[in-house]
Symmetry: C2
Subunit: 148 residues, 2 copies
């Protein structure tokens, strides 16, 4: 599943993604990087709206998990269950989200839960950078359940 | 500051609000209630996108604090610092966010911090309901700093 396929998937499945201007920069087993321009996501101070930052960060995790399932022919939908987000410094430019590569043990555990119980959960962390500085940190618990 | 004024403020300050379709249902010292239609915020499963739910919930807290400052002629911008959100059940209809009335002691403490130190922080909780059930719970720490 290439970046273009993941882009198509996001655009088809989430209506607001077009308005946010989500662009899949890269996608592989280790990470997903998403970008969005400031213009449609700005506030009156010329910085990024928190809801947009959250959406881009959350979608990085969702996209990684969606791709992970797709690549292994696992028929399951990824959903967000819980999340924590810290806003450290304002973002004055492009919104840039990069998922941290999850620990191999966590990925294995998730896959095992999904195989054995038909549902699994995994915690994913996403960093948002602005001009080389960590601007926001997202941590989300995502769940997937096998379609029957 | 009436609901219409708060609506105007949101629409002017946050570009994405129009695309989400944020409607200020009510606004007073005790709470702010915001609504948004499902259509622009849906995913392929016909439920609300997590980023939209987050945006509506977060804006309820932001709008309450913005109104609180405005009504008291306090020249300060409200910003989100940290948030936690739990997604309990999928939302199949309108997105509806109602801020829980903060404890009087917390509001007093926030105001005192702002007066004494020029900056204050307050934790606000927002409930999202769907068909009478709690669908999502947002907790955010908002900060305000006096403009100099």
């Amino acid at each position: 599943m290439k970046a273009e396929d993941l882009q198509e998937r996001i655009d088809q499945e989430i209506k607001l993604a077009k308005h946010i201007g989500i662009v899949v920069e890269s996608a592989d087993d280790t990470t997903v990087v998403l970008r969005a321009p400031l213009a449609p996501n700005g506030n009156h101070k010329g910085t990024a709206f928190g809801g947009s930052l959250y959406s881009v960060a959350m979608l990085s995790g969702w996209a990684w998990l969606t791709r992970f399932l797709e690549m292994r022919n696992i028929s399951a939908d990824a959903v967000i269950q819980e999340s924590n987000m810290q806003f450290l410094v304002p973002v004055h430019g492009e919104l840039l989200a990069r998922m941290r590569t999850p620990a191999e043990a966590d990925v294995k555990k998730f896959k095992r839960m999904l195989e054995r119980a038909g549902r699994g959960r995994i915690r994913l962390t996403v960093e948002m950078q602005t001009e080389g500085t960590l601007a926001a940190l997202f941590e989300g618990v995502f769940a997937a359940a096998l379609r029957r």
